[in-house]
């Protein structure tokens, strides 16, 4: 018999405690029954406590208080803490000094020149390994390649503009009231500016004017988009009769003004193209043509087919812009191919820039850099090996870290040859 059983064997749980107590004053019988009654009453009192306790509220508190800890445990099971940490920490892994890729690449051919650096992908690495860094450095100084690349960069900028323009047009659909007044003013002043600029372009047929022309054409297409939005307003905003009447007049005026400017711009562009031809810059001229094509397409999309909404002309423009970028990239490839005397099968449109400028992992220590213009070259203090004597700090002073903190530096424009960076002792 266990002790436990023994304690309960007499049926009354306090029975084992019954006893006679010897005291100094003689025998005293403890009234065990009275004590047991007292204890039972005490137990009843304890049970009565239930009336004063909100058991469910207490239980809820315990469960809720403890839930965060349990939840944290559960989270551990699903969270990849290390991956999260890697994303937060700014430092790139040492074996790959290239910066993280942009969060999204909407179209391969619209990557931004300013921030794009060599991709870390194996395709890019393979391509870069297929040609020695010295050859690449020489290629990027070859006039044909330089010219083709320059127009490629322009085309890429244009594609970016078109993308932005699409965003703008989209926003305008939702801001129709605002578009009313602005469209005409902007279009008129821009058309005026454009005429002036084209006149100037007549006289100064220089490569860098192309940028100005492009900006103006871009502004014009902006205006056309605004006008398109205005036209949409006519479709959507049926209740505003007065505004509509005014808008119709404005659109009419705008059409006139733009037709006029187009008529003016066409011969200017033609002259410009001829001048550029003479300057052996046919590629650049094609860029101008494309700009007008774009302008026209916006014109068509904006005025002649308003029923289709902004999506169609924008998609059309984007396709056109990408087509243009690809054509320019093909020009660069052609220039490289003929200079190099062989094919480079992996040289996709979005790798052209990396191929010519990315030296972030290149060993240039044995390369003769004398007389080579390094402008635009991307390099990395950790990944690029320079010939002895190149002063890295001086090179840094002439470069820009893009983006800041990425560990990738781009040599700024200006004549920057290796002699500038050699420390003379």
């Amino acid at each position: 018999m266990t002790e436990h059983e023994h304690e309960y064997e007499h049926g009354h749980k306090y029975e084992h405690l019954h006893e006679r107590l010897e005291t100094g004053t003689g025998d005293q019988v403890i009234d065990d029954q009275a004590v047991d009654r007292w204890l039972d009453r005490q137990r009843v009192l304890t049970h009565d406590l239930g009336a004063f306790l909100d058991v469910e509220a207490g239980l809820r508190e315990v469960l809720l208080q403890s839930r965060p800890a349990a939840m944290t445990d559960d989270l551990d099971a699903v969270l990849d803490v290390e991956a999260g940490l890697r994303e937060v920490l700014p430092t790139a892994p040492p074996e790959s000094p290239t910066p993280p890729e942009p969060p999204a690449r909407p179209e391969p051919s619209t990557a931004d020149t300013g921030t794009e650096t060599g991709t870390g992908s194996s395709a890019a690495e393979q391509l870069l390994l297929s040609v020695s860094p010295q050859t690449r450095l020489q290629l990027r100084t070859h006039p044909d390649v330089t010219r083709a690349f320059h127009t490629f960069v322009l085309a890429r900028g244009l594609a970016l503009d078109v993308t932005h323009m699409g965003d703008l047009a989209h926003a305008l659909v939702f801001n129709l009231d605002l578009a009313h007044a602005r469209a005409l003013d902007l279009a008129r002043s821009l058309a005026h500016d454009l005429a002036e600029d084209l006149d100037l372009a007549h006289v100064r047929v220089l490569d860098h004017d192309l940028a100005g022309i492009r900006a103006r054409t871009f502004d014009l297409t902006h205006a056309l988009q605004l006008a398109h939005a205005l036209d949409l307003a006519r479709t959507y905003d049926l209740t505003r009769a007065d505004d509509l009447a005014r808008a119709r007049v404005l659109v009419h005026d705008l059409n006139h003004a733009l037709d006029h400017e187009h008529a003016l711009a066409r011969p200017c562009a033609h002259d410009l193209a001829r001048a550029l031809d003479r300057a052996h810059a046919r590629a650049s001229a094609r860029v101008v043509d494309r700009h007008f094509d774009l302008g026209l397409s916006l014109d068509i999309g904006g005025f002649r087919a308003p029923d289709h909404g902004p999506a169609r002309p924008q998609a059309f423009n984007l396709a056109l812009a990408h087509d243009l970028v690809n054509t320019r990239a093909e020009d660069v490839r052609q220039a490289i191919r003929s200079t190099l005397g062989r094919e480079l099968p992996g040289l996709d449109t979005d790798l052209v820039d990396a191929f010519l400028n990315d030296f972030t992992t290149s060993d240039l220590s044995g390369v003769d850099l004398n007389g080579i213009d390094l402008t635009g070259v991307r390099w990395s203090p950790d990944g690029t090996s320079w010939p002895n004597g190149v002063d890295i700090e001086d090179l840094k002073a002439r470069s820009e870290e893009t983006p800041v903190g990425s560990g990738v530096w781009t040599v700024r424009s200006g004549t920057a040859t290796v002699e500038d960076f050699v420390t003379h002792e």
Partner: protein, 193 residues
Amino acid sequence: MNTHEPADGVDPRAAAPEADHAALDRRIHERLTLDEEFSDFYRRTIRDLTGFLVNQGASLPEAADIAQDTMTKAYRGWTGIRTPRAWVHTVASRAYIRQATRVREEPADPLPDPLSPLLRPNAVAEWEARHDVLRQLPALPPRQRQVLAWTISEFTPSEIAEQLGLTSDAVRASLKKARRAIAAMIAHGEEEQ
């Protein structure tokens, strides 16, 4: 190819998310089972645990607080607790003794904490009015009072001994003295009447 694209089926980590989900499902299921088990225990035990502390000399708010804290600890360590009922009584008893000692040593700390949600509104006054008799608990030495409280909560002397780290004989001796004091108190009360 960029880091956002999934690898071509050769990445050993590819199977990991599914495994993670299965593990998570299992954990959620385990937690639900645990919650159910614990809730059942809480509902069965909380009244007795609170009364047990009152019997040791705690005021009702004190008792409700300590009982609630103890239950929270029990929930957190639930899977590792072999005998939950004895465990919560032991832990609550120790907590009360610690608190009573602290209050004795630092009498300048009388500010009561907000009442535990376990306690119904106005419960304290009503309880004290109805159970005035509790105040008549004999002024027993702490050990005797402790053993008496365990006994009222229907623990046997051997169980009490195990929980308090005493010998059964020591428990019995304390209980004997407690009973004697109660008897004296009862006799004294009858004499007064």
